[in-house]
Chain length 300, copies 2
Protein backbone atom coordinates (compact mmCIF):
# COMPACT_ATOMS: atom_id res chain seq x y z
CA UNK A 1 0.00 0.00 0.00
CA UNK A 2 1.22 3.47 -0.81
CA UNK A 3 2.07 5.34 2.34
CA UNK A 4 0.40 8.51 3.39
CA UNK A 5 3.70 10.26 2.74
CA UNK A 6 3.55 9.39 -0.90
CA UNK A 7 0.02 10.66 -1.01
CA UNK A 8 1.29 13.95 0.26
CA UNK A 9 3.98 14.04 -2.33
CA UNK A 10 1.15 14.04 -4.82
CA UNK A 11 -0.68 16.98 -3.36
CA UNK A 12 -1.14 19.16 -6.36
CA UNK A 13 -0.91 22.89 -6.46
CA UNK A 14 -2.89 23.17 -9.59
CA UNK A 15 -4.28 26.67 -9.39
CA UNK A 16 -1.68 29.36 -9.02
CA UNK A 17 -2.86 32.91 -9.15
CA UNK A 18 -0.77 35.98 -8.46
CA UNK A 19 -1.76 38.09 -5.50
CA UNK A 20 -4.47 40.48 -6.55
CA UNK A 21 -3.73 44.11 -6.65
CA UNK A 22 -5.05 46.41 -4.00
CA UNK A 23 -6.19 48.96 -6.52
CA UNK A 24 -9.58 50.33 -5.73
CA UNK A 25 -12.02 49.12 -8.33
CA UNK A 26 -15.59 49.74 -9.21
CA UNK A 27 -17.92 47.90 -6.88
CA UNK A 28 -20.32 45.15 -7.55
CA UNK A 29 -23.33 45.53 -5.31
CA UNK A 30 -22.52 43.42 -2.27
CA UNK A 31 -24.99 41.20 -0.52
CA UNK A 32 -27.18 42.92 2.03
CA UNK A 33 -25.07 43.92 5.00
CA UNK A 34 -24.76 40.93 7.23
CA UNK A 35 -26.66 41.06 10.47
CA UNK A 36 -24.82 38.06 11.86
CA UNK A 37 -22.48 38.96 14.63
CA UNK A 38 -19.44 36.81 14.24
CA UNK A 39 -18.95 34.86 17.41
CA UNK A 40 -15.20 34.47 17.14
CA UNK A 41 -13.95 36.34 20.16
CA UNK A 42 -11.61 35.11 22.80
CA UNK A 43 -14.53 34.98 25.19
CA UNK A 44 -16.72 32.76 23.05
CA UNK A 45 -13.78 30.71 21.97
CA UNK A 46 -13.20 29.84 25.60
CA UNK A 47 -16.82 29.31 26.41
CA UNK A 48 -17.86 27.09 23.52
CA UNK A 49 -16.05 24.74 21.20
CA UNK A 50 -14.50 26.59 18.31
CA UNK A 51 -16.06 24.25 15.76
CA UNK A 52 -19.55 24.90 17.13
CA UNK A 53 -18.95 28.64 17.09
CA UNK A 54 -17.94 28.78 13.44
CA UNK A 55 -20.65 26.33 12.42
CA UNK A 56 -23.23 28.61 14.03
CA UNK A 57 -21.86 31.61 12.13
CA UNK A 58 -22.00 29.76 8.82
CA UNK A 59 -25.55 28.52 9.35
CA UNK A 60 -26.68 32.00 10.41
CA UNK A 61 -25.13 33.41 7.24
CA UNK A 62 -26.94 30.90 5.02
CA UNK A 63 -30.23 31.47 6.84
CA UNK A 64 -30.15 35.14 5.90
CA UNK A 65 -30.40 34.23 2.23
CA UNK A 66 -32.17 30.88 2.36
CA UNK A 67 -35.46 31.85 3.91
CA UNK A 68 -38.58 29.75 3.72
CA UNK A 69 -40.56 31.73 1.18
CA UNK A 70 -42.87 31.18 -1.77
CA UNK A 71 -42.88 28.86 -3.60
CA UNK A 72 -42.86 26.74 -0.42
CA UNK A 73 -42.62 23.57 -2.48
CA UNK A 74 -39.16 24.73 -3.51
CA UNK A 75 -37.80 26.43 -0.42
CA UNK A 76 -39.05 24.16 2.35
CA UNK A 77 -37.17 21.09 1.08
CA UNK A 78 -34.14 23.24 0.33
CA UNK A 79 -34.09 24.58 3.88
CA UNK A 80 -34.66 21.14 5.36
CA UNK A 81 -32.01 19.33 3.32
CA UNK A 82 -29.37 22.01 3.89
CA UNK A 83 -29.76 22.21 7.65
CA UNK A 84 -30.35 18.53 8.32
CA UNK A 85 -27.37 17.13 6.46
CA UNK A 86 -24.62 15.81 8.74
CA UNK A 87 -22.12 18.44 9.81
CA UNK A 88 -18.51 18.14 8.76
CA UNK A 89 -15.37 20.11 9.57
CA UNK A 90 -15.00 21.35 5.99
CA UNK A 91 -16.79 24.72 6.27
CA UNK A 92 -15.27 25.43 9.69
CA UNK A 93 -11.79 24.74 8.35
CA UNK A 94 -12.35 27.38 5.67
CA UNK A 95 -12.99 30.05 8.30
CA UNK A 96 -10.19 28.85 10.56
CA UNK A 97 -7.72 29.04 7.67
CA UNK A 98 -8.89 32.56 6.86
CA UNK A 99 -8.21 33.62 10.44
CA UNK A 100 -4.92 31.79 10.51
CA UNK A 101 -3.52 33.99 7.75
CA UNK A 102 -4.80 37.08 9.51
CA UNK A 103 -8.06 37.54 7.62
CA UNK A 104 -11.33 38.50 9.25
CA UNK A 105 -13.84 35.71 9.43
CA UNK A 106 -16.47 37.47 7.36
CA UNK A 107 -14.11 37.47 4.35
CA UNK A 108 -14.54 33.70 4.02
CA UNK A 109 -18.07 33.23 5.33
CA UNK A 110 -19.64 32.91 1.86
CA UNK A 111 -17.07 30.37 0.72
CA UNK A 112 -17.61 28.37 3.93
CA UNK A 113 -21.37 28.57 3.33
CA UNK A 114 -20.95 27.43 -0.28
CA UNK A 115 -18.94 24.45 0.96
CA UNK A 116 -21.64 23.56 3.48
CA UNK A 117 -24.25 23.76 0.70
CA UNK A 118 -22.19 21.57 -1.62
CA UNK A 119 -21.77 18.96 1.10
CA UNK A 120 -25.50 18.95 1.83
CA UNK A 121 -26.13 18.46 -1.90
CA UNK A 122 -23.64 15.61 -2.08
CA UNK A 123 -25.12 13.91 0.98
CA UNK A 124 -28.63 14.12 -0.46
CA UNK A 125 -27.59 12.64 -3.79
CA UNK A 126 -25.70 9.87 -2.06
CA UNK A 127 -28.92 8.80 -0.37
CA UNK A 128 -31.25 9.21 -3.30
CA UNK A 129 -33.13 5.99 -4.05
CA UNK A 130 -32.33 5.24 -7.68
CA UNK A 131 -33.63 2.23 -9.54
CA UNK A 132 -30.15 0.71 -9.87
CA UNK A 133 -28.85 1.34 -6.39
CA UNK A 134 -28.37 -1.93 -4.58
CA UNK A 135 -28.21 -0.80 -1.00
CA UNK A 136 -31.33 -0.40 1.07
CA UNK A 137 -31.70 3.26 1.90
CA UNK A 138 -31.32 3.79 5.62
CA UNK A 139 -31.91 7.53 5.67
CA UNK A 140 -35.39 8.72 6.50
CA UNK A 141 -36.65 10.71 3.58
CA UNK A 142 -38.96 13.58 4.43
CA UNK A 143 -39.45 14.29 0.75
CA UNK A 144 -39.77 12.01 -2.25
CA UNK A 145 -36.74 11.27 -4.45
CA UNK A 146 -37.99 13.52 -7.22
CA UNK A 147 -38.25 16.52 -4.91
CA UNK A 148 -34.88 15.74 -3.35
CA UNK A 149 -33.24 15.55 -6.76
CA UNK A 150 -34.74 18.88 -7.81
CA UNK A 151 -33.82 20.47 -4.51
CA UNK A 152 -30.18 19.63 -4.95
CA UNK A 153 -30.36 21.12 -8.43
CA UNK A 154 -31.32 24.31 -6.63
CA UNK A 155 -28.81 24.06 -3.78
CA UNK A 156 -25.67 23.82 -5.91
CA UNK A 157 -26.23 26.98 -8.01
CA UNK A 158 -27.39 28.76 -4.84
CA UNK A 159 -23.97 28.03 -3.34
CA UNK A 160 -22.22 29.52 -6.36
CA UNK A 161 -24.57 32.50 -6.32
CA UNK A 162 -23.88 33.18 -2.66
CA UNK A 163 -20.18 33.16 -3.40
CA UNK A 164 -20.45 35.30 -6.54
CA UNK A 165 -22.53 37.88 -4.69
CA UNK A 166 -20.05 38.15 -1.84
CA UNK A 167 -17.80 40.28 -4.01
CA UNK A 168 -17.37 43.72 -2.51
CA UNK A 169 -15.58 45.10 -5.54
CA UNK A 170 -12.14 44.42 -4.15
CA UNK A 171 -11.99 40.66 -4.08
CA UNK A 172 -13.53 39.46 -7.33
CA UNK A 173 -10.36 37.74 -8.51
CA UNK A 174 -10.02 35.94 -5.19
CA UNK A 175 -13.62 34.80 -5.40
CA UNK A 176 -13.12 33.44 -8.91
CA UNK A 177 -10.05 31.58 -7.74
CA UNK A 178 -12.05 30.09 -4.86
CA UNK A 179 -14.78 29.08 -7.30
CA UNK A 180 -12.29 27.12 -9.35
CA UNK A 181 -11.06 25.39 -6.19
CA UNK A 182 -14.57 24.49 -5.05
CA UNK A 183 -15.70 23.37 -8.51
CA UNK A 184 -12.75 21.02 -8.73
CA UNK A 185 -13.08 19.64 -5.22
CA UNK A 186 -16.78 18.83 -5.49
CA UNK A 187 -16.64 17.86 -9.18
CA UNK A 188 -15.14 15.18 -11.36
CA UNK A 189 -11.63 15.59 -10.01
CA UNK A 190 -12.70 15.25 -6.38
CA UNK A 191 -15.85 14.05 -4.70
CA UNK A 192 -17.46 12.74 -7.90
CA UNK A 193 -14.34 10.70 -8.65
CA UNK A 194 -14.48 9.20 -5.15
CA UNK A 195 -18.14 8.37 -5.58
CA UNK A 196 -17.48 6.62 -8.91
CA UNK A 197 -14.78 4.58 -7.23
CA UNK A 198 -17.19 3.60 -4.50
CA UNK A 199 -19.79 2.59 -7.09
CA UNK A 200 -17.28 0.43 -8.91
CA UNK A 201 -16.27 -1.26 -5.67
CA UNK A 202 -19.83 -2.04 -4.67
CA UNK A 203 -21.06 -5.52 -5.52
CA UNK A 204 -24.54 -6.13 -6.85
CA UNK A 205 -25.68 -7.15 -3.36
CA UNK A 206 -24.63 -3.73 -2.07
CA UNK A 207 -21.58 -4.95 -0.20
CA UNK A 208 -18.51 -2.80 -0.61
CA UNK A 209 -15.31 -4.56 -1.58
CA UNK A 210 -12.56 -3.22 0.62
CA UNK A 211 -9.13 -2.90 -0.95
CA UNK A 212 -7.13 -0.71 1.39
CA UNK A 213 -5.35 1.11 -1.41
CA UNK A 214 -8.61 1.87 -3.13
CA UNK A 215 -10.10 3.11 0.14
CA UNK A 216 -7.15 5.42 0.62
CA UNK A 217 -7.60 6.74 -2.91
CA UNK A 218 -11.26 7.40 -2.16
CA UNK A 219 -10.37 9.22 1.06
CA UNK A 220 -7.88 11.35 -0.86
CA UNK A 221 -10.43 12.33 -3.47
CA UNK A 222 -13.25 12.86 -1.00
CA UNK A 223 -12.29 14.11 2.43
CA UNK A 224 -8.70 14.92 1.40
CA UNK A 225 -9.61 17.17 -1.53
CA UNK A 226 -12.57 18.78 0.24
CA UNK A 227 -10.61 19.77 3.34
CA UNK A 228 -7.65 20.82 1.23
CA UNK A 229 -9.98 23.03 -0.84
CA UNK A 230 -11.59 24.51 2.29
CA UNK A 231 -8.23 25.46 3.76
CA UNK A 232 -7.07 27.00 0.47
CA UNK A 233 -10.29 28.99 0.07
CA UNK A 234 -9.92 30.38 3.59
CA UNK A 235 -6.28 31.24 2.94
CA UNK A 236 -7.04 32.97 -0.37
CA UNK A 237 -9.94 35.02 0.98
CA UNK A 238 -8.04 35.87 4.14
CA UNK A 239 -5.29 37.39 2.03
CA UNK A 240 -2.64 34.74 2.69
CA UNK A 241 0.57 34.61 0.70
CA UNK A 242 1.04 31.89 -1.94
CA UNK A 243 3.37 30.10 0.44
CA UNK A 244 0.81 30.19 3.22
CA UNK A 245 -1.91 29.01 0.86
CA UNK A 246 0.12 26.03 -0.32
CA UNK A 247 0.90 25.07 3.28
CA UNK A 248 -2.78 25.32 4.07
CA UNK A 249 -3.50 23.04 1.11
CA UNK A 250 -1.26 20.40 2.66
CA UNK A 251 -2.62 20.90 6.18
CA UNK A 252 -6.18 20.62 4.89
CA UNK A 253 -5.33 17.50 2.92
CA UNK A 254 -3.68 15.87 5.96
CA UNK A 255 -6.62 16.71 8.14
CA UNK A 256 -9.06 15.42 5.51
CA UNK A 257 -7.12 12.16 5.31
CA UNK A 258 -7.31 11.76 9.10
CA UNK A 259 -11.05 12.46 9.04
CA UNK A 260 -11.72 10.17 6.10
CA UNK A 261 -9.65 7.34 7.53
CA UNK A 262 -11.41 7.64 10.89
CA UNK A 263 -14.76 7.51 9.12
CA UNK A 264 -13.75 4.22 7.57
CA UNK A 265 -12.39 2.68 10.76
CA UNK A 266 -8.72 3.65 10.44
CA UNK A 267 -8.47 5.55 13.70
CA UNK A 268 -4.88 4.77 14.48
CA UNK A 269 -1.84 3.46 12.68
CA UNK A 270 1.13 4.77 10.77
CA UNK A 271 -0.89 6.58 8.14
CA UNK A 272 -2.89 8.55 10.69
CA UNK A 273 0.22 9.45 12.67
CA UNK A 274 2.08 10.48 9.54
CA UNK A 275 -0.78 12.71 8.45
CA UNK A 276 -0.96 14.30 11.91
CA UNK A 277 2.79 14.88 12.00
CA UNK A 278 2.85 16.40 8.54
CA UNK A 279 0.01 18.75 9.44
CA UNK A 280 1.80 19.80 12.63
CA UNK A 281 5.01 20.35 10.69
CA UNK A 282 3.28 22.66 8.22
CA UNK A 283 1.48 24.44 11.04
CA UNK A 284 4.84 25.37 12.58
CA UNK A 285 5.26 27.79 9.71
CA UNK A 286 2.46 29.82 11.22
CA UNK A 287 4.19 29.96 14.60
CA UNK A 288 3.95 33.69 14.93
CA UNK A 289 0.26 33.65 14.26
CA UNK A 290 -2.84 32.59 16.11
CA UNK A 291 -2.79 28.82 16.07
CA UNK A 292 -5.22 27.94 18.83
CA UNK A 293 -8.33 27.96 16.72
CA UNK A 294 -7.11 25.67 13.99
CA UNK A 295 -5.46 23.30 16.47
CA UNK A 296 -8.68 23.03 18.44
CA UNK A 297 -10.60 22.45 15.25
CA UNK A 298 -8.19 19.87 13.90
CA UNK A 299 -7.88 18.25 17.32
CA UNK A 300 -4.15 17.83 16.83
Amino acid sequence: MATITSHFANVKSTVHFPCISNQRRSHLPPLKPTTVRMSMTQQTRNSQPYGASVQADIEAHIKQFLTIKEPLAVFEPMHHLVFNAPKTTVPALCLAACELVGGQRHRAISAASALLLMEAATYTHEHLPLTDRPKPVVKNHVFGPNVELLTVDGIVPFGFELLARSDDGENSERILRVMVEISRAVGSGGVVDAQYRKTMDTRSDGEEVCHVEEIMRMVEKYEGELHSCAAVCGGVLGGGSEDEIERLRKIGFCFGMIQGMAKRGFNEGNEVNEARNLALQELKFFKDKELDAIKILLNI
Copy 2:
Protein backbone atom coordinates in the same frame (compact mmCIF):
# COMPACT_ATOMS: atom_id res chain seq x y z
CA MET B 1 -55.46 33.91 -18.48
CA ALA B 2 -52.79 36.51 -17.98
CA THR B 3 -51.62 37.84 -21.29
CA ILE B 4 -48.08 37.65 -22.43
CA THR B 5 -47.91 41.40 -22.08
CA SER B 6 -48.47 41.14 -18.37
CA HIS B 7 -45.77 38.50 -18.19
CA PHE B 8 -43.44 40.98 -19.76
CA ALA B 9 -44.40 43.65 -17.33
CA ASN B 10 -43.03 41.31 -14.69
CA VAL B 11 -39.65 40.84 -16.29
CA LYS B 12 -37.35 41.61 -13.43
CA SER B 13 -34.12 43.50 -13.60
CA THR B 14 -32.83 42.03 -10.43
CA VAL B 15 -29.09 42.26 -10.79
CA HIS B 16 -27.72 45.67 -11.51
CA PHE B 17 -24.01 46.10 -11.61
CA PRO B 18 -22.16 49.19 -12.65
CA CYS B 19 -19.91 48.97 -15.66
CA ILE B 20 -16.53 47.72 -14.61
CA SER B 21 -13.60 50.00 -14.74
CA ASN B 22 -11.07 49.70 -17.46
CA GLN B 23 -8.18 49.90 -15.08
CA ARG B 24 -5.55 47.35 -15.82
CA ARG B 25 -5.48 44.82 -13.02
CA SER B 26 -3.35 41.91 -12.06
CA HIS B 27 -4.20 38.87 -14.12
CA LEU B 28 -5.62 35.57 -13.13
CA PRO B 29 -4.06 32.90 -15.30
CA PRO B 30 -6.43 32.55 -18.22
CA LEU B 31 -7.43 29.26 -19.71
CA LYS B 32 -5.05 27.85 -22.28
CA PRO B 33 -5.17 29.96 -25.39
CA THR B 34 -8.08 28.83 -27.45
CA THR B 35 -7.30 27.00 -30.63
CA VAL B 36 -10.86 27.28 -31.85
CA ARG B 37 -11.20 29.59 -34.76
CA MET B 38 -14.45 31.42 -34.33
CA SER B 39 -16.52 30.81 -37.40
CA MET B 40 -18.52 34.02 -37.27
CA THR B 41 -17.55 35.72 -40.49
CA GLN B 42 -19.77 37.08 -43.17
CA GLN B 43 -18.69 34.22 -45.36
CA THR B 44 -19.64 31.46 -42.97
CA ARG B 45 -22.72 33.30 -41.89
CA ASN B 46 -23.90 33.15 -45.46
CA SER B 47 -22.83 29.61 -46.06
CA GLN B 48 -24.26 27.93 -42.99
CA PRO B 49 -27.06 28.72 -40.59
CA TYR B 50 -25.95 31.13 -37.91
CA GLY B 51 -27.26 28.86 -35.14
CA ALA B 52 -25.21 25.92 -36.41
CA SER B 53 -22.12 28.10 -36.65
CA VAL B 54 -22.27 29.31 -33.06
CA GLN B 55 -23.25 25.87 -31.77
CA ALA B 56 -20.13 24.45 -33.43
CA ASP B 57 -17.96 27.11 -31.79
CA ILE B 58 -19.43 26.40 -28.36
CA GLU B 59 -19.00 22.65 -28.65
CA ALA B 60 -15.44 23.07 -29.89
CA HIS B 61 -14.71 25.28 -26.89
CA ILE B 62 -16.07 22.72 -24.43
CA LYS B 63 -14.19 19.90 -26.15
CA GLN B 64 -10.91 21.64 -25.47
CA PHE B 65 -11.46 21.24 -21.75
CA LEU B 66 -13.69 18.19 -21.57
CA THR B 67 -11.44 15.56 -23.04
CA ILE B 68 -11.94 11.86 -22.56
CA LYS B 69 -9.20 11.11 -20.09
CA GLU B 70 -8.57 9.02 -17.00
CA PRO B 71 -10.56 8.12 -15.04
CA LEU B 72 -12.59 6.99 -18.05
CA ALA B 73 -15.45 5.95 -15.79
CA VAL B 74 -15.89 9.64 -14.99
CA PHE B 75 -15.09 11.40 -18.23
CA GLU B 76 -16.68 9.08 -20.79
CA PRO B 77 -20.21 9.52 -19.41
CA MET B 78 -19.59 13.23 -18.93
CA HIS B 79 -18.55 13.62 -22.56
CA HIS B 80 -21.46 11.50 -23.77
CA LEU B 81 -24.15 13.24 -21.75
CA VAL B 82 -22.94 16.73 -22.60
CA PHE B 83 -22.73 16.21 -26.35
CA ASN B 84 -25.81 14.04 -26.74
CA ALA B 85 -28.31 16.23 -24.92
CA PRO B 86 -30.79 17.98 -27.22
CA LYS B 87 -29.58 21.30 -28.57
CA THR B 88 -31.39 24.48 -27.66
CA THR B 89 -31.02 28.10 -28.75
CA VAL B 90 -29.92 29.22 -25.27
CA PRO B 91 -26.11 29.05 -25.70
CA ALA B 92 -26.29 30.50 -29.22
CA LEU B 93 -28.39 33.42 -28.00
CA CYS B 94 -25.67 34.25 -25.48
CA LEU B 95 -23.08 34.65 -28.25
CA ALA B 96 -25.49 36.49 -30.55
CA ALA B 97 -26.28 38.99 -27.78
CA CYS B 98 -22.58 39.53 -27.16
CA GLU B 99 -22.06 40.35 -30.82
CA LEU B 100 -25.16 42.52 -30.94
CA VAL B 101 -23.68 44.91 -28.37
CA GLY B 102 -20.41 44.98 -30.29
CA GLY B 103 -18.50 42.39 -28.29
CA GLN B 104 -16.28 39.77 -29.84
CA ARG B 105 -17.70 36.28 -29.72
CA HIS B 106 -14.87 34.84 -27.67
CA ARG B 107 -15.78 37.14 -24.75
CA ALA B 108 -18.94 35.14 -24.16
CA ILE B 109 -17.89 31.68 -25.29
CA SER B 110 -17.33 30.36 -21.73
CA ALA B 111 -20.71 31.63 -20.54
CA ALA B 112 -22.39 30.06 -23.58
CA SER B 113 -20.54 26.83 -22.83
CA ALA B 114 -21.59 26.93 -19.19
CA LEU B 115 -25.19 27.37 -20.30
CA LEU B 116 -24.92 24.38 -22.63
CA LEU B 117 -23.47 22.32 -19.77
CA MET B 118 -26.25 23.38 -17.38
CA GLU B 119 -28.87 22.43 -19.93
CA ALA B 120 -27.30 19.03 -20.51
CA ALA B 121 -27.29 18.49 -16.73
CA THR B 122 -30.94 19.50 -16.46
CA TYR B 123 -31.94 17.22 -19.32
CA THR B 124 -30.15 14.26 -17.76
CA HIS B 125 -31.79 14.77 -14.38
CA GLU B 126 -35.20 15.15 -15.99
CA HIS B 127 -34.81 11.68 -17.47
CA LEU B 128 -33.28 9.95 -14.47
CA PRO B 129 -35.32 6.93 -13.43
CA LEU B 130 -36.18 7.55 -9.79
CA THR B 131 -38.23 5.20 -7.68
CA ASP B 132 -41.10 7.68 -7.39
CA ARG B 133 -41.27 8.87 -10.95
CA PRO B 134 -44.46 7.72 -12.55
CA LYS B 135 -43.67 8.13 -16.21
CA PRO B 136 -42.02 5.37 -18.16
CA VAL B 137 -38.63 6.57 -19.22
CA VAL B 138 -38.48 6.90 -22.96
CA LYS B 139 -34.88 8.01 -23.26
CA ASN B 140 -32.32 5.36 -24.04
CA HIS B 141 -29.85 5.30 -21.20
CA VAL B 142 -26.31 4.42 -22.15
CA PHE B 143 -25.29 4.54 -18.50
CA GLY B 144 -27.06 3.47 -15.33
CA PRO B 145 -28.97 6.00 -13.24
CA ASN B 146 -26.29 6.06 -10.57
CA VAL B 147 -23.58 6.98 -13.07
CA GLU B 148 -25.84 9.56 -14.72
CA LEU B 149 -26.57 11.17 -11.36
CA LEU B 150 -22.89 11.36 -10.50
CA THR B 151 -22.01 12.65 -13.93
CA VAL B 152 -24.35 15.58 -13.60
CA ASP B 153 -22.77 16.29 -10.22
CA GLY B 154 -19.57 16.70 -12.20
CA ILE B 155 -21.02 18.65 -15.13
CA VAL B 156 -22.52 21.51 -13.12
CA PRO B 157 -19.37 22.52 -11.22
CA PHE B 158 -17.39 22.05 -14.45
CA GLY B 159 -19.62 24.70 -16.03
CA PHE B 160 -18.91 27.13 -13.20
CA GLU B 161 -15.20 26.30 -13.34
CA LEU B 162 -15.05 26.98 -17.07
CA LEU B 163 -16.65 30.34 -16.50
CA ALA B 164 -14.49 31.24 -13.50
CA ARG B 165 -11.34 30.38 -15.43
CA SER B 166 -12.29 32.54 -18.38
CA ASP B 167 -11.27 35.62 -16.44
CA ASP B 168 -8.44 37.40 -18.18
CA GLY B 169 -7.85 39.80 -15.32
CA GLU B 170 -10.03 42.49 -16.82
CA ASN B 171 -13.48 41.00 -16.66
CA SER B 172 -13.75 39.32 -13.26
CA GLU B 173 -16.64 41.49 -12.13
CA ARG B 174 -18.54 40.79 -15.31
CA ILE B 175 -17.97 37.08 -14.89
CA LEU B 176 -19.26 37.18 -11.32
CA ARG B 177 -22.34 39.03 -12.48
CA VAL B 178 -22.91 36.40 -15.16
CA MET B 179 -22.51 33.66 -12.55
CA VAL B 180 -25.29 35.20 -10.48
CA GLU B 181 -27.51 35.34 -13.56
CA ILE B 182 -26.82 31.71 -14.50
CA SER B 183 -27.19 30.46 -10.90
CA ARG B 184 -30.59 32.09 -10.66
CA ALA B 185 -31.83 30.96 -14.05
CA VAL B 186 -30.91 27.30 -13.57
CA GLY B 187 -31.69 27.25 -9.83
CA SER B 188 -34.67 27.57 -7.53
CA GLY B 189 -35.90 30.82 -9.05
CA GLY B 190 -35.87 29.48 -12.60
CA VAL B 191 -35.64 25.99 -14.08
CA VAL B 192 -35.98 24.19 -10.73
CA ASP B 193 -39.13 26.17 -9.95
CA ALA B 194 -40.58 25.15 -13.33
CA GLN B 195 -39.70 21.52 -12.70
CA TYR B 196 -41.41 21.58 -9.29
CA ARG B 197 -44.51 22.99 -10.93
CA LYS B 198 -44.44 20.21 -13.49
CA THR B 199 -44.09 17.61 -10.73
CA MET B 200 -47.06 19.04 -8.86
CA ASP B 201 -49.14 19.00 -12.02
CA THR B 202 -48.33 15.41 -12.82
CA ARG B 203 -50.85 12.82 -11.66
CA SER B 204 -49.79 9.51 -10.15
CA ASP B 205 -50.37 7.81 -13.52
CA GLY B 206 -47.84 10.16 -15.09
CA GLU B 207 -50.36 12.25 -16.99
CA GLU B 208 -49.76 15.98 -16.88
CA VAL B 209 -52.69 18.13 -15.91
CA CYS B 210 -52.80 21.07 -18.29
CA HIS B 211 -53.94 24.39 -16.92
CA VAL B 212 -52.97 26.99 -19.47
CA GLU B 213 -51.99 29.58 -16.88
CA GLU B 214 -49.81 27.08 -15.09
CA ILE B 215 -48.18 26.05 -18.36
CA MET B 216 -47.43 29.69 -19.12
CA ARG B 217 -45.89 30.10 -15.69
CA MET B 218 -43.72 27.05 -16.33
CA VAL B 219 -42.63 28.42 -19.70
CA GLU B 220 -41.72 31.74 -18.05
CA LYS B 221 -39.61 30.04 -15.40
CA TYR B 222 -38.00 27.57 -17.78
CA GLU B 223 -37.45 28.74 -21.33
CA GLY B 224 -38.25 32.37 -20.51
CA GLU B 225 -35.71 32.74 -17.71
CA LEU B 226 -33.05 30.67 -19.47
CA HIS B 227 -33.16 32.65 -22.70
CA SER B 228 -33.41 35.91 -20.79
CA CYS B 229 -30.33 34.91 -18.80
CA ALA B 230 -28.43 33.90 -21.93
CA ALA B 231 -29.10 37.23 -23.62
CA VAL B 232 -28.10 39.17 -20.49
CA CYS B 233 -24.88 37.18 -20.09
CA GLY B 234 -23.94 37.88 -23.70
CA GLY B 235 -24.73 41.57 -23.26
CA VAL B 236 -22.72 41.85 -20.06
CA LEU B 237 -19.67 40.04 -21.42
CA GLY B 238 -19.86 41.91 -24.72
CA GLY B 239 -19.61 45.18 -22.83
CA GLY B 240 -23.17 46.35 -23.42
CA SER B 241 -24.62 49.33 -21.55
CA GLU B 242 -27.15 48.75 -18.76
CA ASP B 243 -29.88 49.91 -21.10
CA GLU B 244 -28.80 47.46 -23.79
CA ILE B 245 -28.56 44.67 -21.24
CA GLU B 246 -32.08 45.25 -19.95
CA ARG B 247 -33.42 45.31 -23.50
CA LEU B 248 -31.63 42.05 -24.16
CA ARG B 249 -33.23 40.61 -21.01
CA LYS B 250 -36.66 41.37 -22.47
CA ILE B 251 -35.75 40.13 -25.96
CA GLY B 252 -34.39 36.89 -24.49
CA PHE B 253 -37.47 36.43 -22.35
CA CYS B 254 -39.80 36.99 -25.34
CA PHE B 255 -37.84 34.57 -27.45
CA GLY B 256 -37.81 32.01 -24.63
CA MET B 257 -41.58 32.34 -24.29
CA ILE B 258 -42.04 31.74 -28.02
CA GLN B 259 -39.75 28.70 -27.87
CA GLY B 260 -41.40 27.30 -24.72
CA MET B 261 -44.90 27.81 -26.05
CA ALA B 262 -44.02 26.13 -29.35
CA LYS B 263 -42.57 23.17 -27.42
CA ARG B 264 -45.93 22.78 -25.70
CA GLY B 265 -48.04 23.11 -28.82
CA PHE B 266 -48.77 26.85 -28.74
CA ASN B 267 -47.31 27.66 -32.14
CA GLU B 268 -49.61 30.48 -33.01
CA GLY B 269 -52.03 32.77 -31.26
CA ASN B 270 -52.08 36.13 -29.57
CA GLU B 271 -49.45 35.31 -27.00
CA VAL B 272 -46.93 34.20 -29.59
CA ASN B 273 -47.57 37.24 -31.76
CA GLU B 274 -47.32 39.59 -28.79
CA ALA B 275 -44.01 38.07 -27.74
CA ARG B 276 -42.67 38.36 -31.27
CA ASN B 277 -43.79 41.97 -31.57
CA LEU B 278 -42.29 42.91 -28.22
CA ALA B 279 -38.98 41.32 -29.17
CA LEU B 280 -38.97 43.17 -32.49
CA GLN B 281 -39.78 46.43 -30.74
CA GLU B 282 -36.85 46.05 -28.36
CA LEU B 283 -34.58 45.02 -31.21
CA LYS B 284 -35.28 48.34 -32.94
CA PHE B 285 -33.15 49.96 -30.27
CA PHE B 286 -30.17 48.23 -31.80
CA LYS B 287 -30.98 49.59 -35.26
CA ASP B 288 -27.52 50.98 -35.84
CA LYS B 289 -25.89 47.71 -34.98
CA GLU B 290 -25.57 44.34 -36.61
CA LEU B 291 -28.98 42.74 -36.35
CA ASP B 292 -28.82 39.98 -38.93
CA ALA B 293 -27.35 37.35 -36.68
CA ILE B 294 -29.83 37.63 -33.87
CA LYS B 295 -32.78 37.91 -36.25
CA ILE B 296 -31.71 34.77 -38.07
CA LEU B 297 -31.24 33.01 -34.76
CA LEU B 298 -34.55 34.14 -33.33
CA ASN B 299 -36.30 33.48 -36.64
CA ILE B 300 -38.28 36.70 -36.28
